[in-house]
């Protein structure tokens, strides 16, 4: 038990949430972060899907890492990820159809998400299954965390709601307030991600040096 939650393992899990965040520091997975965050709900679902897939694909690859021939490892990694993505996509269609329609191709495109391939290549190929699992979940949650922030800002300012509940009162609209249409466009998502990176870097100045 002690070994399972040793200091190193904690670091493996916590680093991607903050100082080694895949979006903020490694600048990976930006495209999907821009595409699915115009509202909060798809952002959450997308974040969770990626978390589950990174976690389990890391475990599977880590388990078979010694038997994978080096020259075809990328293909094998892709097969594993594709299988998991297909399962997640089917689950979404079965239990959360509306959201899966909103996410459309982006669930399928998780296969090409740079975070996944990066973690498989850089971590799961060299570490045991438990560490790999923690690493995958940590990176997935780090990704989901940013998606939620961006999705919340965009939905609140772009549609005046969160998770579909109207938050901005009608009286404000009557007084001339109106929703910011640009927030629903991907361009604004890029700027918000930029702002989050800005805040993150100024909070972590010491660690960067």
């Amino acid at each position: 038990m002690n070994k399972l939650f040793s200091k190193e393992n904690k670091a493996v899990f916590l680093a991607p949430l903050n100082i080694d965040n895949p979006i903020l520091v490694q600048i990976l997975g930006i495209c999907s972060a821009l595409a699915v965050t115009s509202q909060l709900e798809p952002a959450i679902v997308m974040g969770l899907s990626v978390t589950v897939i990174t976690g389990f694909s890391n475990v599977i690859i880590s388990l078979i890492r010694k038997t994978i021939p080096n020259r075809i490892r990328i293909i094998i990694q892709l097969v594993v990820v594709a299988a998991l993505v297909t399962i997640v996509s089917m689950l979404l269609k079965a239990f959360a159809y509306d959201v899966s329609v909103q996410l459309s191709v982006y669930v399928g495109l998780i296969i090409t998400n740079c975070i996944l391939m990066g973690r498989l290549e850089a971590f799961a190929m060299m570490n045991g299954p438990w560490e790999s699992f923690l690493d995958g979940i940590g990176n997935g949650l780090g990704y989901a965390f940013i998606l939620v922030i961006v999705g919340a800002v965009r939905e609140l300012l772009g549609s005046g709601s969160l998770l579909g509940f109207k938050l901005i009162p009608d009286s404000l609209y009557a007084n001339g307030y109106s929703d910011n249409g640009m927030m629903t466009m991907p361009a604004m998502a890029l700027i918000i991600v930029g702002c989050v990176i800005w805040v993150h870097r100024s909070l972590n100045k010491e660690e960067k040096k």
Binding site: S178, N180, M182, M183, M185
Partner: protein
Amino acid sequence: MIKKFFDKIRPNFEAGGKWHSLHSLFEGMESFLLVPNRTSAVGVSVHDAIDSKRIMSFVVIALLPALLFGMYNVGYQHYRAAGLDGTFLELFGYGFLAVLPKIIVSYVVGLGIEFAVAQWKGEEIQEGYLVTGLLVPLIVPVSCPLWMLALAVAFSVIFVKEIFGGTGMNIFNPAIVARAFLFFSYPNQMSGENVWVSKESILGLGKDLPDTFTMATPLGTASAGHYVAPPLDDMIIGLMPGSIGETSVIAIAIGAVILLWTRIASWRTMVSVFVGGALTAALFHSLGATPLMWYEHLFLGGFCFGAVFMATDPVTSARTEQGKYIYGFLIGVVAILVRVANPGYPEGMMLAILLMNALAPLIDYCFVQRNISKRAKRAAHK
């Protein structure tokens, strides 16, 4: 006298003085009102008689005719829509009161951010906002709410200017970005038929109009497929609905003369914008794609204003002399192309200038490389 006053209060702002935290505000006001008395302390630098603050002042002077006429036109459109007769002073006064808050908001927000950033970074205040602050109110419709204007100004100053390192470092023209931000964020308040005439009475001038009153710009009607040509003299004088400062060809021409005479704007850029626009418009007209004659395309909408005050911005335009021809020409072409080919956007000047701002460094790069290889060849021949 002003100098004495500044000398007297200066100790308060120097390190240790009681208002030290406001020192950048002090320096900004001082060098705005007086010619700066410091010369650069390090390195060799050539000082011209006219520094960048004076350049900015000349641009502001060049903008004044368009601004004053814009104010009159705001009043004129309102009184005509209301069916009232007003004296010249009433019309102008109404427009003045309608436009003034926008200018104040634009300057307060923009300069506030600039001062805050200068203070935070410990730099001198940068004066670039002087022009932008006046351009922004001139390129929005008169009914644009003040809070939107404030938001757009804040957005463009922070994300287009300060992030790139402040005045002189930006790749996009901040005033255009402010307008683009408004255009994409709040399309209902920035285009269409509902926004071009002020609808409220101000301090007893004019009268309230019903919300349902609409008035389309000539380009708006052209885009909707039922072009109504305004009389040619209205077109040139500028008595037609449109963004505050963009309507009058004459007022803009006065500004253009000032800019060219003081050599602040490049005639190469200006002329090639008009040539590009005219040729493209003539081509489309002869193909039957647009009901407007080529000169109508140039006189209507923001074409003149953009060509004179926006495209020639020395920071964001191409810097090589031949590059300016290409840069200007393509602005004219793209502006007309957007107007004619995209039914969703009646006006293309804003998008054209933004696009070419982004391409200007590339144009420069090509010409610089060409010159380098030319010279290399010449050297090889010797």
